[in-house]
């Protein structure tokens, strides 16, 4: 717990208002960082000799539809020397104007951001290699968003067989 507080103190001392909010849930510390100060915060967390968050475990985007701001991006950091985990959370109002890429701090971020862009559609500023990673190149939309339809097949009964069959998307001839 002490280390949790030290991290926040250090961030507040060095970056001031970059820390928007701090929350604890089930023993996990989450630090909400302003989007435009994210890289400064990451650099401090990685390079400060007392913190040394040298390992980026994961980047997860979260869709809070219908709330605003709608998207949140989580960075799960780990400090191997201190055996400590920390979550940075960034609110994203416009998915096309997402957080800056963390690739300069942790190389793996390029790869993880690609997944986020593909499935959630949050565009990371400065990541030049954002492309479809899992889905085909010509795919429309981002499936992990909450407003993305789940897909549904209408059930055909004898009385409406023709009607529904006409709408079904498969080769008719």
């Amino acid at each position: 717990m002490k280390r949790d507080d030290m991290v926040v103190e250090k961030l507040r001392a060095a970056l001031g208002d970059a820390v928007e909010e701090v929350s604890d849930f089930r023993g996990e510390r989450t630090v909400y960082i302003r989007k435009d100060r994210l890289i400064d915060a990451c650099r401090l967390l990685r390079d400060d000799p007392d913190l040394r968050y040298n390992f980026l475990a994961d980047i997860v985007a979260d869709d809070h539809l219908p709330d605003y701001p709608r998207f949140a991006v989580n960075y799960h950091l780990m400090s191997m020397p201190n055996k400590h985990r920390l979550r940075l959370r960034v609110w994203v109002e416009d998915p096309d104007d997402g957080p800056p890429t963390a690739a300069d701090i942790w190389v793996i971020a390029t790869w993880l951001e690609m997944e986020v862009w593909d499935l959630m559609g949050v565009r990371f500023a400065g990541n030049g290699s954002l492309r479809r990673l899992f889905l085909p190149e010509d795919w429309q939309g981002h499936p992990l968003r909450k407003d993305y339809p789940l897909g549904y097949e209408e059930v055909q009964f004898s009385f409406n067989w023709q009607e529904i069959d006409a709408k079904k998307p498969y080769a008719k001839q």
């Binding site: 849930f25 996990e28 989580n74 799960h76 985990r85 793996i108 492309r131 479809r132």
Partner: protein, 420 residues
């Protein structure tokens, strides 16, 4: 020479670099389009351990550049799980990393339990540990067999699968399924293990050390195997951390890091086991680490069996686990709980958690956000195979194309987990 790329129709077309880049969709920087050859390796290729496509730029036989193209097995598991109730979503985790279903069950279950704020019983913890280690052993056996097969060591493959089959029989004994076990569930386990479980695992512990010695006799000092693996696919410890490598691949690069010891979960802190570390960072080092890990698995399982005490395997809260069948005939409350649980499931509070455990491939993490309903609002898995694959281009650069096969084998990927 123009650029040659095989098409689906088996004709060879000449394309401009721009057309090709748009077509291949891997975003790879092509160094010299005029002189080098572009080879599409996979998605249907036996050495890619699933449906992985690699776009390789070759100068003669030397790899200049390489880019993985994934997504052929994408089934939208995260989206599916977000639309299922907490317990029903569990079955999707088996299908992710199908070689180690128990670890996947465990990480998801632990995330759900963290979100709910419940603590499982000691017997459930010990059994979970034993099963997770059995699963690690089974997974390492598949890795050893297939990666040796890629290097043309056929017999190792057959021996490994024979022993793995024994472990799968144990899984079938406890859960009714060989691979898609769904056995570790929120609140404990599906049910207690049968009586035959402990003797069957003890038998495994008895014969397994000799089998591991057999594999080592076939490979460890085999000159062909050494030549194919030593100094191949090296990655430094700094690069390994920066590229997010975890598991045996990280430990083979000299980074002494294992979540079981360094951020203990279950009861690992009280168990006595070594974390094998090698410093060479090549394919051979990864082989040595995994072989030693198999021995440590056996030690952990043995200690687990010794500590196994009778007791309940599920928590007493029937809002989360169903009441025992026998109670249903006598207690109205049990009937209500049973009905509510199977029609509605349980609800988790608002909040988000991240739970990470050491799977056979590295850190598997589960991010889970609850929104007060009976379905998770967001499930995300940090797949160790997915992240480990990212450093494949770095490891394969300036190696022969045949080494790429050895390197893929050594990072031990499962495409089901990469694509999810």
């Amino acid at each position: 020479m123009g650029l040659l790329i095989p098409q689906a129709s088996d004709t060879i077309q000449e394309l401009s670099v721009e057309e090709l880049r748009a077509k291949v969709g891997t975003g790879m920087e092509i160094v010299d389009a005029e002189e080098h050859m572009l080879l599409s390796m996979g998605p249907q290729h036996p050495s890619t351990h699933g449906v992985l496509r690699l776009l390789v730029e070759l100068d003669g036989e030397t790899v200049v550049n390489l880019a993985p193209d994934i997504g052929f097995l994408h089934t939208g598991i995260e989206k599916t799980m977000e639309n299922k109730r907490y317990v029903k979503a569990l079955v999707a985790t088996d299908r992710m990393d199908y070689l180690t279903p128990m670890s996947n069950n465990l990480v998801y279950t632990m995330a759900v339990e963290k979100l709910l704020g419940v603590e499982v019983t000691p017997r459930a913890k010990t059994l979970r540990l034993i099963l997770a280690e059995l699963s690690r052993l089974a997974s390492h056996l598949v890795w050893l067999g297939t990666s040796a097969l890629d290097l043309a060591a056929m017999s190792v493959f057959l021996y490994c699968f024979r022993e793995r089959e024994y472990i799968l029989d144990i899984f079938e004994m406890v859960s009714g399924q060989r691979m898609m076990v769904s056995y570790i569930r929120p609140g404990g386990l599906w049910r207690d293990v049968p009586e035959e479980f402990v003797p069957a695992v003890r038998k495994l512990l008895d014969f397994m050390p000799a089998k591991i010695a057999d594999y080592e006799a076939l490979l460890t000092h085999n000159p062909i195997f050494e030549m194919r693996t030593q100094g191949v696919g090296t990655i430094s410890s700094e690069d390994a951390i920066a590229w997010g490598l975890t598991g045996p691949s990280l430990r083979a690069s000299g980074v002494d890091w294992d979540l079981r010891r360094d951020q203990p979960y279950l009861d690992y802190a009280s168990y006595d086991f070594k974390v094998p570390v090698e410093t060479a960072g090549d394919v051979y080092a990864r082989y040595l680490v995994r072989i030693q890990e198999m021995r440590e698995c056996l030690r952990l399982i043995r200690q687990g069996l010794d500590r196994l005490k009778p007791g309940p395997v599920n928590i007493d809260d029937h809002k989360i686990v169903p009441p025992p069948r026998a109670e249903l005939g006598q207690s109205m409350e049990a009937v209500i709980h049973h009905f509510k649980l199977w029609t509605e499931g349980f609800s988790a509070p608002e909040g988000f958690v991240y739970q990470a455990i050491e799977s056979p491939r590295g850190e598997i993490g589960c991010y889970l956000r609850g929104n007060g309903t009976n379905k998770p609002a967001r499930v995300h898995f940090r797949g160790p195979s997915f992240v480990n694959l990212a450093s494949l281009p770095l490891m394969s650069k300036n190696r022969f194309i045949a080494d790429v096969v050895a390197i893929i084998g050594s990072i031990d990927i499962v495409l089901g987990e990469i694509d999810r």
